[in-house]
Symmetry: C2
Subunit: 345 residues, 2 copies
């Protein structure tokens, strides 16, 4: 797997960027980033706000989730990539909205598949409007995202998005097939992460680059940035599942038998854990058990290893940026990488 | 609604075509059609057979339904439209496969939404592989159909298909919202039929026309043919729900509270039926009751009215063909219209 890193990677770039800024004042960096990115985000939100509502229940179910906001990290990626070229033009804004629509579509279908009750602190659309409406709402968002991308007429982006969605579905399918079977398989883990998470980040970076007329070398650098940011993002997501007191409920992935990276490492290091956990998963829900299992996993050093790998991918993302001109756009992307490592939700 | 016909339409064309051929020897006509179309269908099936399988459960679930065959009416429409021009080329075959993939994708999602147990005489994919796999299988077919359409590079077809899918979703949504509420609303009925059924037939005709290089006038005629064939097809589908001894289980739509055309007419003619039926729908399933209700509906003349309207649309479909050159392609399309009126499943 090209994305799998060796343990010997030296985190030069990450150390350099963190030191130059002081990890302690990440908060200030984020505030500065916020100021710099805010104008683009306001424009993005204005564009998203005019995305048609309509009278149908599928449209209502789609907007139920869209209106809850979220981090808008993927549209931010489009905006920042575009800032290396012609900027956040109408075309780039339209692509930013599209990537958020696709992301939201996958959340709608995921919540049906996972029988999830909540999303972004509210009832899941599948609970509020029913599975049927949530399925068609996802279909509707997907199709309208594709129409928007097609309408920008930026070379190759529609075709590329269709490839991304194909990757996402096959990754979701693999994850579905493996659910509850806790086999530590690194290749499969990275295949799922690349398909399910990183591919959409990559598209967002490429979309911003192409809309803004960047050359192939810059586009490839931003593509690599998206890949490693996406993997780092997912690794931290995996780790957050083991922490309490964050913005997310703990042990959700664990309870569902999802093969997260901490689980891969823990089972590699302590193979007896596999049978033990598979048995627990077949019993009815038991919070106490999961907290205890989480502790056992922590004791293998799996969470430290997860964070370390996330840092390695963060380092790779920063390395990818090094060929791009210094300035506020690069600065902002670097800050996003650091913030992804520090995030609590 | 442009598609709603006045009752005064004279069925000239239908009478003419039926008489010229003898309704009694429709079987022979179909056999002849079968011979003429068979070569194209064999090529279509060969193309469909090489559509990638893959190891993922979503791919298995998708092929579970694809492999059961079905009537392949939409691909046949692509093939016959193409025969007015350059013929059933690789491009046209690829579009024929695409329209079948989209149709199958909608069936997969419909079966999840309808909690259907069977499809084409076998377990529904959602039962055999689970809802999650069926949802993602539908997504996968949709995306791969779109990729195939994009790859043909026929002007405007990908964008048009995205519009068709949008129409289909909004029609499904409207139908979903109205389920169990038996309000006789013709405008809504035709809106749903046009979106859910006719739009894909129209696309199939246009796709065949464009792939084969037909002029705008011919394309528009075939588009109109697709519209009216689609509406006639759905009307007969509605009527078949009231008949026993066909290839389909009776009273499925009735049981689900779907607003079929016979119901629209019956409730217009006998408004008390609405409350009566809505009450029945809230009770647990009862076959005897549905047979009795079906009889009451038949007694209002609603089934005769449905057949009459189907004939009117069949007539319009035949009229649309009149500007096209006579020959085996037109002959085959005419036979399809007649066969649609006579079909038993």
């Amino acid at each position: 797997m090209p994305v799998a890193l060796e343990n010997s990677v030296v985190l030069d770039r990450l150390a350099h960027v963190s030191m130059a800024r002081g990890a302690h004042d990440l908060g200030q960096r984020l505030t500065a980033l916020d100021r710099w990115v805010k104008a683009d985000l306001v424009e993005f939100e204005a564009e998203l706000a005019v995305f048609p509502r309509g009278a149908r229940v599928v449209q209502e179910a789609a907007h139920h989730l869209l209106d809850l906001g979220g981090k808008h990290l993927r549209p931010t990626c489009v905006a920042l990539a575009s800032r290396f070229g012609e900027g956040f033009t109408a075309k780039a804004r339209s692509l930013a909205v599209s990537v958020e629509l696709v992301h939201t579509a996958t959340l709608l279908h995921d919540d049906v598949v996972d029988v999830a009750e909540h999303r972004r602190g509210k009832l899941a659309a599948s609970v509020e409007y029913g599975n049927a409406a949530a399925i068609f709402a996802g279909d509707w968002l997907l199709v309208n995202a594709l129409r928007k991308i097609g309408a920008t007429k930026v070379e190759g982006l529609l075709d590329k998005m269709l490839g991304v969605i194909d990757d996402m579905i096959l990754a979701e399918s693999l994850q579905l097939e493996r659910r509850g079977k806790l086999v530590a398989n690194r290749d499969e883990y990275f295949k799922i992460v690349e398909g399910k998470t990183a591919s959409l980040f990559r598209w967002a970076m490429i979309a911003g680059a192409r809309a803004a007329g960047l050359d192939t070398r810059a586009e490839q650098a931003l593509d690599q940035f998206g890949l490693h940011l996406g993997v780092a993002f997912q690794l931290i997501d995996d780790e957050l599942d083991f922490r309490t007191g964050t913005g997310k409920d703990p042990f959700v992935d664990l309870r569902e038998g999802k093969m997260t990276y901490p689980l891969v490492v823990a089972i590699e290091r302590q193979p007896a854990l596999q049978a033990q956990m598979e048995e627990t998963l077949q019993q009815p829900d038991n919070t106490a058990d999961f907290a205890a299992i989480a502790n056992t996993i922590r004791e293998t050093g799996a969470l430290v290893a997860t964070r370390k790998l996330a840092e390695e991918h963060a380092n790779r993302a920063l390395e990818a940026l090094s060929i791009l001109p210094e300035g506020p756009a690069r600065d902002a992307l670097e800050t996003i990488v650091l913030a992804s490592l520090e995030r609590k939700s």
